[in-house]
């Protein structure tokens, strides 16, 4: 791969020629705001927040989708760029509930972080707001459409696993929504509760229900652990407060690692002192389950019991 050298905000950087501007900027420690970009997902250019100015081009370009070129001169925080970003954030906030006080995502939410960074506030207005459609059917995931910014990351990550592809866009224009299997719920759709979508969601539109109310993220200690169930070796995070391990959550999947519910429950069982009750989906219902059934080790335990009984005799 050839390298190219470009200038971003006055600093020179040399990167492989297949890099996008946002990647090159990262090498310099320049953090370009981005809501729909994820290095593990297809680039879609939907949020438009990563716009930058490139010398010689009249138009603003999205840095997630624009490849670097030799000699390119990029400016990431010009007056024009900042105005566009502020307007975009304001447009998002104007449709968004003012709920940061109790939102589980607060502290990690990118919308919140960028609103703070660009000093954009919630405001009163008498125009349209997104309707508060909430899917509470799952014991694992809460979906709140009113907080969704339609970045589409959840759709892209869910569709990366062949037999999942549960999520999709529906509707048009302002009424666009993310739906499960042509408008079903977590319970009635073919969702497998892997939580891939939750980990990529930049806002509080998809949250892990088993974390809710347990801790604010800034109060928690977060430790990454590996899943020991299968060879994929997905990563999870254990959240603890004052030495007490409170919850386990999935970490962003990468390198073709799928994440799954069994892995998550097993990791909970192994790391938490007092894990919540597990649930299984039977038909179109989530039902409370025993741990042996939830992580499907009933037959293994039976076998172990048998063997050990034999030994004792």
């Amino acid at each position: 791969m050839k390298n190219v050298t470009l200038t971003i905000d006055g600093q020179k950087v040399t990167v492989p020629e297949n890099y996008s501007i946002i990647q090159a900027a990262k090498e310099l420690g320049i953090d370009i705001p981005a809501l729909c970009y994820d290095p593990n997902l297809e680039v879609v250019g939907a949020c438009r927040l990563c716009l930058v100015e490139i010398e010689g081009s009249r138009k603003l370009e999205t840095s997630c989708s624009t490849k670097v070129r030799e000699g390119m001169v990029v400016n990431t925080e010009t007056e024009k760029v900042v105005k566009a970003r502020k307007d975009i954030l304001q447009l998002l906030l104007d449709s968004h509930p003012n709920d940061c006080l109790t939102c589980q995502k607060a502290g990690e939410c990118l919308l919140q972080a960028y609103a703070y960074r660009y000093d954009v506030k919630f405001r009163e207005h008498d125009g349209a707001m997104r309707p508060k459609l909430i899917d509470t059917s799952s014991p694992y995931i809460l979906k709140d459409d009113s907080k969704c910014i339609l970045c589409g990351k959840c759709v892209r990550t869910c569709s990366q696993v062949d037999d999942r592809q549960v999520l999709s866009f529906a509707g048009r224009g302002y009424d666009t929504r993310i739906v499960l299997d042509l408008d079903k719920t977590f319970e009635t759709s073919k969702c497998v509760s892997c939580n891939r979508c939750v980990v990529v969601c930049p806002v509080g539109a998809l949250v892990d229900k088993r974390l809710m109310g347990k801790t604010r993220i800034w109060d928690a200690e977060v430790k990454t652990v590996d899943c020991k169930v299968c060879a994929y070796g997905c990563e999870f995070e254990v959240l603890s407060k004052k030495g007490k391990k409170l919850a386990v959550r999935a970490k962003a999947p990468s390198n073709g690692r799928p994440l799954c519910l069994k892995g998550r429950l097993t990791t909970e069982l192994m790391h938490l002192d007092n894990p919540d009750k597990p649930y299984r989906k039977i038909g179109n219902k989530f039902v409370e389950s025993s741990w042996t059934k939830a992580i499907s080790i009933a037959d293994i335990i039976e076998k172990i019991n048998k063997l050990e009984n034999n030994e004792e005799k």
Binding site: V43, V44, G45, A46, C47, R48, L49, L51, K59, L60, T62, S65, T66, K67, K80, K83, A84, D87, I88, L91, L92, D94, S95, G127, A128, I149, L150, G152, S168, F169, G171, R172, G173, Y174, D175, T176
Partner: protein
């Protein structure tokens, strides 16, 4: 198998039959050079190239098309020209895309030609979603083979063997006509394997659009053909390099393709002799609105708006004063009457804040409210936004809310500035052409008719007398003091003595219109 010889035979056999029929119908005349044109004042100033066969040949007859030199251009390029030469002629002709953006067709073809790939595609964009537009439909229904021949020539030029026509499902006659035309062309060996016995093969399939305006956008259209949701792609690659299924793809508009065959019949110089230097050829417009004779017109580029509206369209209906012309459909702008002498070509229209677009042309008179027109077009874009990117999805909605507020008489100081600021962000930050041009109707009316916005906002008045919420009922001095209105007013807001002029208290008036109905002398007016 079709040969050049056979093609000539069909032509020689069919032409006299066609001429006979046309003579009987009496709608056409044959010019000295052998070309057949439609008679009448409406057509006198028109130059019909894309529409050359429309209303003349029977669209269901491939022989009729051949009788007027159809498929001779395809024969010529296959036997006499290399693909590179075909592209050279297209570049020389400087035919620019008629689908809206005006991108030079030859340059586009060349990009796909140079790009090595095992498979390439030609797409004909027949999604025509602009409200009120019917240029492409008329071509598809009136002369389908010109589009098929244009696609085959494009296929030969870039090295593609497969074409798709993406046509609106709402055009059932066009679909039927196209199906029949493709069948006939295949039967004749003018489409399919080894066309004219050469080793060039080219097939065409139809794909029906789902009726979303945004599916007319090139990359959204490709997503739709691939069976995905019709959302525009972010432009990482050119579609001429990576388009449909990631393969080099040429997408051209119906009218663009209908121009292609005749350029190879008559040459690039001939084509460039029509129209202007930078915009050669003609453009088809759907002339509608307050014009005496509405319909399709095809004129050389560079003709002024005035000539089109007055010399061809016969002027404004009811002999009212012309106020503005809206060109370019929902992404276009309103051009005020004092710019009527602007020549119609890509650059000139862009310079005055409008666009050529796909060819919508709406004539407006003094009863049309410019704020309401902007609201109407924005309402359309808000409905049609695909919802993918934030500025368009959220921003156009907010602009529409402001415009609705203004036309309902609830406008506030600062609304114009808010509109302008939103327009700037939406046009510079949106992902695709829909969002990038969505605010044009607003910015152009703000540029030329700002007073009208101010009248709505400050004086709560609609100068065109069109915004219902802002109408004021008023009794003129024609009033004879019969008291009828006062007796009938449901809120008793009319005062006046018998045989004296009456007065409406506009604060209390609920605009029910009763007084106007009952007044025996028509003294009640709205203003």
């Amino acid at each position: 198998m079709m040969t050049l010889e056979k093609l000539r035979e069909i032509k020689e056999k069919t032409r006299p039959i066609l001429e006979d029929r046309l003579k009987k119908e009496g709608k056409t005349e044959i010019r000295e050079d052998g070309s057949i044109v439609l008679k009448g004042d409406y057509y006198k100033k028109q130059v019909r190239i894309a529409l050359r066969n429309c209303e003349i040949i029977n669209p269901d007859s491939i022989d009729d098309y051949i009788a007027l030199d159809g498929y001779s251009a395809l024969g010529k390029v296959l036997f006499e020209m290399t693909p590179a030469e075909v592209i050279d002629v297209m570049m020389e002709s400087n035919l620019r895309g008629r689908g809206g953006a005006g991108f030079p067709t030859g340059r586009k073809w060349n990009e796909a030609f140079k790009y090595d790939a095992d498979k390439k595609y030609i797409i004909c964009n027949a999604d025509e979603g602009d409200p009120g537009a019917f240029m492409d439909r008329s071509i598809l229904e009136g002369d389908p083979h010109s589009v098929l021949e244009g696609m085959a020539i494009a296929g030969y030029a870039v090295g593609a063997d497969q074409g798709f026509i993406y046509v609106r499902a709402e055009y059932p006659l066009a679909v039927k006509t196209l199906k029949k035309a493709i069948e006939q062309a295949k039967e004749y060996g003018l489409l399919g394997k080894n066309i004219f016995g050469t080793d060039f093969s080219f097939d065409i399939e139809l794909r029906l659009g789902a009726g979303a305006f945004v599916c007319g956008e090139g990359t959204a259209l490709m997503e739709s053909i691939e069976g995905k949701r019709g959302m525009p792609r972010v432009k990482i690659h050119r579609t001429a390099h990576k388009g449909l299924w990631g393969k080099p793809t040429i997408i051209n508009n119906v009218e663009t393709l209908a121009n292609v065959p005749i350029i190879y019949q008559k040459g690039a110089d001939w084509f460039r002799s029509i129209g202007t230097e930078k915009s050669p050829g003609t453009k088809v417009f759907a002339l509608v609105g307050k014009v005496k004779e509405s319909g399709l017109v095809e004129v050389p580029m560079g003709m002024t708006l005035r000539e089109i509206v007055f010399d061809i369209g016969g002027g404004v209906a009811d002999d009212r004063a012309i106020k503005a012309i809206q060109t370019g459909g929902p992404s276009g702008g309103c051009i005020p009457a004092d710019l009527l002498d602007t020549p119609v070509d890509f650059e000139s229209l862009a310079k005055i804040g409008s666009i050529m677009g796909s060819g919508g042309m709406v004539v407006m008179d003094e009863t049309d409210c410019m704020v309401d027109i902007a609201r109407f077009f924005l309402d359309f874009t808000v409905e049609e936004s695909c919802g993918k990117c934030v500025p368009c999805r959220e921003g156009t909605k907010r602009m529409l809310e402001i415009l609705e507020k203004i036309t309902e008489g609830n406008g506030e100081e600062g609304d114009i500035e808010r509109l302008e600021s939103l327009a700037e962000t939406i046009s510079s930050a949106s992902l695709c052409g829909l969002g990038q041009t969505a605010s044009n109707p607003v910015t152009s009316t703000l540029q030329y008719f700002r007073d009208e916005y101010i009248a709505h906002i400050r004086d709560k008045r609609c100068p065109a007398g069109s915004c219902q919420a802002l109408l004021e009922y008023y009794i003129t001095d024609a009033c004879i003091g019969c008291t009828k209105c006062a007796r009938n007013c449901p809120v008793s807001c009319i005062s006046g003595k018998v045989k004296e002029r009456h007065v409406i208290d506009t604060e209390t008036c609920i605009k029910c219109g009763t007084c106007m109905e009952v007044c025996p002398v028509g003294a009640v007016i709205t203003r």
